[in-house]
Symmetry: C2
Subunit: 337 residues, 2 copies
DNA sequence: TTGAAAGCGCTACCAG
DNA sequence: CTGGTAGCGCTTTCAA
C-alpha cells in the first residue's frame, strides 16, 4: 500500500504533526530530525497527498483553463503560456475544450467546482453569461482571457481588438483597397465583434463605406472560412481584400482563392488575426495581427495568484496593444483585375 | 460558506448516508426522498466535493497527459483527442509540457503522484526511463503514446514508425531521388529513430545507399529544422530530397529552401511526418505521413480505463498503421538542377 | 429503507 | 521544539 504520513511518523518515532511540519517547512524542527525524516520519506517513496491537504481547507493547486478547442494553435499557445506561469507558482493546469457549446461550458464549469480548482481562466465564450454567476458568488477567482463579459465582475485580459481591426483597415486602405469584405466569427464573440467595429470605424474615418453584406459569420474552422470566402469571392464584383477575424479563417480564405485561381496578394489581399504559428507557414505567409498571447497568459495567471492571496483585490481589466505583422498576403489593390 | 453534504442532510431531515447514496445512485432510496434531496441540492447550489470523495479511497477522476509541448500542434491534437475520450468517462485532463527536459519530466511525474491522478498518458521521452519505475511500482496505470520504452511494462500505443519511414523512402525512390538527407529528432527519441531505420531499410532494399553524413539531428522546432536544412543544402552536392521526421522540421526545411532560392518541389522534395494542421497550409502543401492521432488518443484512454477497471489486465502494445499523405512538396528528381 | 460511526491523509490549534 | 486532537467532506460497512 501507499505510504502515508503515519508510516513516516512511526518509522521516525515522531508524531505526524512533526512530519507535517517538515513537509511544509513550518514550525521549528531540529535540523537533525528534519534530515532524518526526509531520508525516511525518500526511502518509503512517500508522496504527500495533495488531496488530503486540500480537504483540510487548503488549496488544490490546480487551475482550470476553459477554451473552445485546445487543438487550435491559438489556444494551444495560450495553454502553454498559462501552464508555464502556473507551474512557476506550483499550480497545475486542467484543460477543457468547449467547442463553444454552452452545454459543454456548463458541464466543465460544474466540474471545476466539484474539483475545487483554485481559479479558472476562461477563454471561451458562452451564450448565457449568467452561467458564471454561481462561480462568482462562490468566490472562485476567475479571469477572462481574450474575451470580455461586461456583465460580470471578473478580471479580464484582452488585446485591444478595436485597435487591431483599425490597424488592418488602415493597412488595407493605404494600399488602395476599397472593396473589402470580412470573415467574422460568430456574432456572439466579443473579440470578433470589436475587431469589426474597429475596422469599420477606421473605414468610416477614411470616408469610405463598407457594405453590410460584405460580412460573413463563420465557425472557428478552416473549412468554414473557405466556404464563406468562396461565397464572397463568387460574387459579381468581388472584394479586393478580405479581413479575417482569425488566422484559421484567413487560411480558409487563402485556400478558397487558390481554388478559384485568384492570386494572393496580386488579385486579393488577405489579412488574419492572432499571429499563430500557422500564419508563418502559409502560402503566401500571412499578414496578420499579433496578440501577445504569452504575455496575456502570464498576466492572467498573475491576476489569479493575486486574488488567491488577497480576495479583496479590485477586479482589473488589462488591455494590451496588438501589433500588425506584415508578411506577404496583402498588397496594393489592382483594380484592373 | 459552501454547502456540504451535512447541510443537505440537515435541510432534508435525513442522514448524510442517504444523501451520499442519492448522489451516487446507490442503495435504495424512495423516489420521493430522492427527488426532494435533488431539489435541495439544487437550491443550495451544492456541488459534491470530488476531493473529499477521492480521499475516501475513491478515484480523482483526473488523468495526466505529459508531452514535450502542448503548443506544438501534434501534441495539441493529441491532447484534444485524449480530453474528449476521457470526458466521455467523466475524467478531466491535466496537461504538462516537459520541453523534453528530464528534470521537468521528473517534477511533473512527482506532481501527478501527489495529486493522485488515476492514470497517466505519456507522450514525452526521457533520458532515464527508470524515472517511471516508482509509478509503475505504485501501480499507477500508465500508457505511452507515440513513444516506446521496451524497458517498461506499460501499455503502448504507437504508429509503426518503421513502416512510415519506408513509405517515405519508397515514395521518394519511385520519383528517382538518390541523394536523400534526413532531418531527425534527437537520437534518443525512439519514434524518430525507427522512422530512420525504416527509411534506410527501404533504401537498402532498393539497392541504394544513404550517406551517413546525410543525417542531422534537430531540436523540435522550426528554427532548428531550418538551420540544419541550411547546412545540408549548403553542401557541394546537395540532396534532392529531404525526409524530415516531423512537420515542424519539414517547415524549417521549406523555409531554408526558400531562403536559398531552391524551388520546392522542382529542385528539392521535402517530406514531413505527423500530418498536423500545419502540413495542409504550407507553401507548397506538405507531403507527409499521417499518424491517426485521434484514434491513438482514444485507444490510450481506453487502455487506461481498462486497467482502472481491472488492474490485472495484461499490458498491450498497439501498433497502428501510418499513411502517406501526398500533397505537393515532393516530386520527381531533376538531376539537371 | 435509512442511520450511526469509523475512517481516508493531512493541517492547524493548543498544550507541554 | 514536539505531540495530541479536532476536524475537512465524503464513502462505506454494519445495524436497526
Amino acid at each position: 500500500m501507499k505510504a502515508t504520513i503515519y508510516d513516516i511518523a512511526k518509522e521516525a518515532g515522531v508524531s505526524i504533526t512533526t512530519v507535517s511540519q517538515v513537509i511544509n517547512g513550518k514550525g521549528k524542527i531540529s535540523e537533525e530530525r528534519r534530515k532524518e525524516i526526509f531520508r525516511i520519506m525518500e526511502r518509503l517513496h512517500y508522496q504527500p497527498s495533495v488531496i488530503a491537504a486540500a480537504l483540510t481547507g487548503k488549496k488544490t493547486y490546480t487551475l482550470g483553463l476553459i477554451v473552445p478547442d485546445i487543438s487550435n494553435p491559438f489556444f494551444a499557445e495560450m495553454a502553454r503560456a498559462v501552464e508555464d506561469q502556473g507551474h512557476r507558482s506550483g499550480y497545475s493546469l486542467m484543460i477543457c475544450s468547449t467547442d463553444n457549446k454552452d452545454d459543454r461550458v456548463q458541464s466543465y464549469l460544474t466540474l471545476m467546482r466539484k474539483k475545487r480548482v483554485d481559479g479558472i481562466i476562461i477563454g471561451t465564450g458562452m451564450d448565457d453569461e449568467r452561467m458564471l454567476n454561481p462561480l462568482v458568488e462562490a468566490g472562485i477567482p476567475i479571469v477572462l482571457i481574450a474575451r470580455e463579459m461586461p456583465s460580470q465582475a471578473v478580471h479580464t485580459v484582452i488585446v485591444d481588438d478595436g485597435v487591431g481591426g483599425g490597424l488592418v483597415a488602415r493597412h488595407l486602405l493605404e494600399q488602395g483597397h476599397r472593396r473589402m469584405a470580412i470573415l467574422a466569427e460568430h456574432p456572439k464573440v466579443s473579440s470578433s465583434r470589436n475587431r469589426i467595429i474597429g475596422f469599420k470605424q477606421a473605414v468610416d474615418e477614411a470616408g469610405m463605406i463598407l457594405e453590410n453584406n460584405g460580412i460573413r459569420y463563420c465557425d472557428y474552422t478552416v473549412e468554414d472560412g473557405k466556404r464563406k470566402a468562396l461565397e464572397l469571392l463568387g460574387e459579381a464584383v468581388r472584394p479586393t481584400a478580405l479581413f479575417c477575424c482569425n488566422d484559421l479563417l484567413a487560411i480558409g480564405a487563402l485556400q478558397a482563392a487558390k481554388e478559384l485561381d485568384i492570386r494572393v496578394p496580386d488579385q486579393l489581399s488577405v489579412v488574419g488575426f492572432d499571429n499563430t504559428i500557422l500564419a508563418s507557414v502559409t502560402d503566401p505567409p500571412l499578414t496578420t495581427v499579433a496578440q501577445p498571447i504569452e504575455r496575456m497568459g502570464k498576466i492572467a495567471v498573475d491576476l489569479l495568484m493575486q486574488e488567491l492571496t488577497d480576495p479583496s483585490v479590485i477586479k482589473q481589466r488589462i488591455v494590451l496593444r496588438p501589433d500588425l505583422v506584415v508578411r506577404h498576403s496583402a498588397s496594393s489593390s489592382r483594380p484592373d483585375f
